[in-house]
Amino acid sequence: MPLANPVFAGHNSNQGGGMIPPPGLSEGAMLKFVRKRAVASLISLVGLIVMVFFLSRLTGDPAALFLPVEASAEMKQQFRELHGLNDPLLVQFAHYVGDVLTGDLGESLRKARPALDVVLEAFTWTLWLAVITMSLVTGAAILVGSLAAFRAGGFFDRLSSIISLIGASVPDFWVAIVAIVVFSVNLAWLPTSGTGSLLHWILPIAVLFIRPFGIIVQVVRGSMIGALSSAYVKTARAKGVKSRSIIFVHALRNAMLPVITVIGDQAASLLNGAVIVETIFGFPGVGKLMIDSILQRDFNVVLAAILVTALAIFLMNLLIDLAYALLDPRIRH
């Protein structure tokens, strides 16, 4: 109905969450956009590091934790001296920044090896876990959400919404423990925990699957209901296009933008580590590493882990922007 003035069409552009590149940009401008995003992320990263550095140091003295309670004051003093913890905080920070700029993220107090090595080892596991889980979640949620939306209000819709509701409502550690009791102990189908074979991945992935699945199904459903009631779907129906093709070709691609945003959010939280699942299943990921390290006041590892995951999340967000552009030509140029 409204006669959109093309002049204002560009002006009204949605800059939702700073995620979507403003439309009306050329290919070269896309690069500029990426650069702008990189600068913004760098600022955030620096802010994050400053915050974590000082906040974590407020949580207590690593010496008290590294050394036994019986350790003498001199031993503690010597430990702090050894690790440069006696310097004023600002001096420590200056040292840290200097080291980071030369690519040295410091040593782990507990493990006596480079913090970055420790983190990268753990992060590899987390990355795989996140990638596999999110792939499965995405595929399943899109399928279920789309079908639910197609017959909104029908039996399948109700069933899937109840399942996804439960999925989004259950405490994950509870599910994890029950799953071990049932599938590993009683049925002996799967190993309880750990890594090694492919079978070891099933339970952690299954537990991690539940909540994002519940959330994404609902977003897909909502977005698909919108897309399916849109004008171009009417056109497709007028063309005699098959239902399957209407859902998965015409509507789905249009409905994906909000879905991708949620997928991004969920993936980000997985990249930050699935602390609870990692703890229960003895999965050597970065989430448990981060929590353990802060428990042990192993600051360098905490900082390195934050740095690595934040970078990963930044890259993922770029990928998501790319996916936006791939999916929607209006954003592309």
């Binding site: 093309p6 129906r237 999916l327």
Partner: protein
Amino acid sequence: MADHLLEVRNLSVEFHTASGVVHAVRDISYHLDRGETLAILGESGSGKSVSSSAIMNLIDMPPGRITAGEVLLDGVDLFKLSPHERRAVNGRRIAMIFQDPLSHLNPVYTVGWQIREALTTHGADAATAAAEALRLMTRVGIPEPERSLGKYPHEFSGGQRQRVMIAMALALRPDLLIADEPTTALDVTVQAEVLALLEELQEETGMGVLIITHDLGVVAEIADRVVVMEKGVLVEAGTVREVYKNPQHPYTKKLIAAAPGKGEMHEPATRAEPVLSVRDVRKTYGAFEALKGVSFDLMPGETMAVVGESGSGKSTLARILLRLDEPDAGTAHWKGRDLFTLSPAELYKLRRDLQMVFQDPTQSLNPRMTVFQLISEAWVIHPDILPKAKWRARVAELLVQVGLGPEHMRRYPHQFSGGQRQRIAIARALALEPQLIICDEAVSALDVSVQAQVITLLDKLRREMGIAFIFIAHDLPVVRDFADHVMVMQKGDIVELGTVREVFEAPRQDYTRALLSAGLDPDPDVQAAHRAARLQRAAC
């Protein structure tokens, strides 16, 4: 009976809505033959689109329900077909084009893909489909057809998009084409071209065309026969000529009477001191020059119509005058003070004098405020106008003035019809007692009969209160009865500026003439003459 291409018999459709069951159409019947064009004429809410949706199986059930009737295509009842057979009809035997091609084309696929899909869906192989798509694009007159196949809908202009829709619809040479308001959102010149294309194609293929429209001009231009609908009921049917010249039903009469451009033209008073003096206003958005130096004067109590097609810069001008956008250069003196150099505080005071009525009242009224809140907000913002105790009485007064009642004060905008909403918007503008109201396409989105009422209201306000208007429209007939001066804009420039009589009766510029001749006249005879003249011009 079975010799009609399409026959709709006793069709009734109802919808379940918040306000209960709505009988969208009740017991309507019409028929259409090959090579014939039937127009369904009606205003919004008349149910004119419902029967076509039923034909195309596009009614969502629920909330819709077909309660009675049949739709025969070459004698076969479409309602009795299996879903599979039914789908085979769509696109292949009946095709459809829609009002707003931008939203009716899938934004994320190339137009080539979408045209090819129409073909492959009904069994064409990829190579044939590709060749055919190219042929169709060429046929409907898209420039650079080969390259255009790889473009996305948003990369085309409105007229081109409708041509793409047509190419897609005609891909399988259907027997019947349903065109639902195919030209409503298009500029007049583009509308004429699209209608001409439709006619040509009809001649080529011999298909039947069912055109759904609210525009008498479109009916006069293209249709053979017309059925008129009001509130779901078919009130009148006949050939276009019969219906226009000799309408039987009062509703039809009212519709025909409401068509603009038949009243007396204003003779502007002698020029006095201008109340608004605009000089050389310029504005660019990036590389796009929206305004290329616009200058004009506006006398007190005078109406200046600004007419132009989309992209001509007329809305930009309105926004700049109201400081919703900042100009790049130029001045605009309101009673001797340059609007563009005012401080925020001065601007705040001046807001009282200059008000605006927007195109779409649905969007310009905050949906979460009552009518009272909407109108009295003016006095919240400018407390010195009226003491709070008098607000209620004044709102009632304003509502009466715009043709509503005091009892409407407590309701929300969505409870009103489009015309009523625009009246509320006008009442809101009046609340500040302005001396100039800028109407940006204020009547474009309204039905013809409502359009006439709103214009009458504005005219009355002008006469009674001496308010000056800048009246922006894309349609010339609308401004004919209302404006003192007309300013025709094209691509950011004023191409013609004169009294309404000068512009309408003795246009000096080709562009103005093109605009005038592209406009469709509701009178089939007049329109036939226009058309002949246009064809002749084209032939030369």
